[in-house]
């Protein structure tokens, strides 16, 4: 990472972790809306974040220099803030709409999840191999921060500023997700999750609900990708292997499926404390060994969560009738035994 000359190494490091935390929290909220609330198992989540990151990168990098330059890409332009983030959000939404239209058809849930995993594996192969698209496996570098440029700052040169910027956007979106989850629409999602046939027999349009939550989640994923790439300045296939999706899933499992406070705790524990901090510690063995071992541990944690099926650190919260603005207080439960 470059820049940060006038900021102490430690504060830069902490700030970087916090920016990652914002991005991961956005991902986890979006995935929790899809998985925890709607029961849609999006094993290709990271693809939509990647789409946002790539689009935010190319629309700020300026026109591509073509084959002659050190990196080539499509859609090169100089979009100002906030258009570049909107473009990233839109990219996530459009891609998830396209994928959702065939992947969310009525079929066995394990097929559905496998199809989404396959999408993730194939997308990575395509983007790595098709160099004119997003510069292949070398990826894109030199991405800037349009909002900071308005007053001469860069993301890595002014990390505190960037953190504040990302945190405000992240907070607004996360609050929006919580609000939607508690709305009647969110309640419909939970009904669909609990019993699809009964939900449709009660008049809920399952196909449409599932696509809505998939596209909304994809849009948030795209936004999170945009926020990430403007900070780290580079994006390549190495950043979005299929396994990245499962880090977010593990965070949700650990924290508590369906509970956003739990999801925040899980995000702090898994992608930040567990995965990011060792990257700043002295390396063990050959370069990359720590990374590999971390992934093994994520896989084991994932399997343990499934084995013991914990409700997470903070389980889903019971929404009592009185919380829905009910005019009447229900009588206390008279010993249901």
């Amino acid at each position: 990472m470059e820049g940060g000359s006038d900021v102490g190494a430690w504060s830069f490091y902490i700030t970087t972790l916090l920016v990652y935390f914002v991005v991961d929290a956005l991902s986890a909220f979006s995935l929790n809306l899809q998985f925890g609330y709607a029961g849609v198992v999006n094993f290709g989540f990271i693809v939509f974040q990647a789409a946002g990151a790539y689009v935010a990168a190319v629309v700020t990098l300026g026109p591509s220099g073509g084959q002659a330059s050190f990196q080539q890409y499509i859609l090169g332009s100089h979009l100002p803030f906030p258009l570049e983030l909107l473009a990233a959000t839109l990219a996530g939404a459009v891609l998830s709409l396209v994928v959702g239209l065939f992947a969310l058809r009525r079929m066995r849930r394990d097929y559905q999840a496998a199809v989404l995993l396959i999408v993730s594996l194939i997308a990575l192969q395509v983007v790595s191999a098709d160099v004119p698209l997003f510069n292949g496996s070398n990826g894109l570098t030199g991405v800037t921060w349009p909002f900071g440029q308005l007053f001469g700052a860069t993301a890595t040169g002014s990390p505190f500023l960037y953190l504040g910027y990302a945190a405000i956007i992240g907070l607004l979106v996360c609050l929006g997700v919580i609000w939607l989850s508690r709305s009647p629409w969110g309640r419909s999602l939970r009904a669909m999750r609990d019993h699809e046939d009964a939900a449709s027999a009660m008049g809920l349009n399952i196909t449409s609900l599932r696509l809505q939550v998939f596209v909304l989640g994809g849009a948030i994923a795209g936004l999170s990708g945009g926020l990430l790439v403007e900070y780290i300045g580079a994006w390549s296939p190495g950043a979005w292997g299929y396994a990245e999706t499962f880090v977010i899933f593990t965070a949700i499992f650990v924290g508590g499926v369906g509970n956003y406070r739990g999801v925040l705790v899980g995000t702090l524990l898994v992608p930040i404390i567990f995965l990011e901090i060792p990257r700043f510690l002295p390396a063990v063995g050959y370069p990359g060994l720590t990374d590999s071992l971390e992934w093994v541990v994520v896989g084991l944690a994932w399997m343990l969560c499934l084995l013991f099926r914990p409700r997470g650190i903070i389980p889903e919260r019971r929404l009592k009738a009185s919380l829905h603005g009910s005019p009447r207080e229900p009588a206390p439960a008279e010993g249901s035994a």
């Binding site: 999840a113 093994v296 399997m303």
Partner: protein, 295 residues
Amino acid sequence: MLAQLLGSAADGIVVAAILAVAAMGFTLQFSLTNVLNLSFGSVMTIGAFTAYLVNVAGLSPWLGLALGTVAGALATVLLGRGVLRLYARRRTQLFEMMMVTLGMSLVIDYGIQAISQNAIYGYTVLQGSPIRMGPIAVTPIQVGIIGIALVLLVAVEAALHLTKLGKALRATAVEPSLARSCGIKTSRVVLVTWLVSGGLCGLAGVVYIISTQSVDYTTGELFLPLIIAAAILGGVGSLRGAVVASLVMGLVTEIVAGFGGAAYSTVAGFAILVVVLLLHPGAVFGGAEDRQLVL
């Protein structure tokens, strides 16, 4: 143009042969256990690395082929009997079972990444000079791979239909509870299936790296989409279906690659599945709603 097409078609048949070996294994275990095993690609990688190690030790590549097969079989039995049974005892449902296999896949893939130091290793064995017939050029080992696939198809089909165990397997796949009450030891049937399908998986890993001449920790994972697509397209449980679907997949991917779309060859194969899915959702996925776990 035509020459190019014929050349690609020949390559396609070789890919199809490799794919067919893997897809037969996949469809066999999937139709019996109903667990969509996402660690199948990782086991392929285990088989491939075993063959690589045999080669490093200076032993015969044919021994590598054999040991790769054994490694695949043992790894699959270990996962199926050791790990999945553990979950089955805690009443894990089918869908969660698939998530478990995904966790196993992460552990195996990145375990191999750690051990292999995340490097790509060359594996050039049994190559020989290509036989040329006009635009078509195939190496003897490629012909050998096609032969292996055909022999396996005939052998497994024969075993399924002629042996007692094969008949028991087919009965269990259709109606496990009925099979059990008819005195079939389903547990033994499942064990044999893990062994056979795992062997096919390991073998596929070895012939795959003979063909691509290199191996790394992603070897199986990158092949997995085509395997799943071929198994589903061929109709789960049908060996002949899996082979025909593999042929279609192999031809399409290699022809697309041959005409300049190398980056999109896997997409093209997957697109076939998507198109079939969109046109006839029932044909591919029909009637599989209330399958139960058999372990």
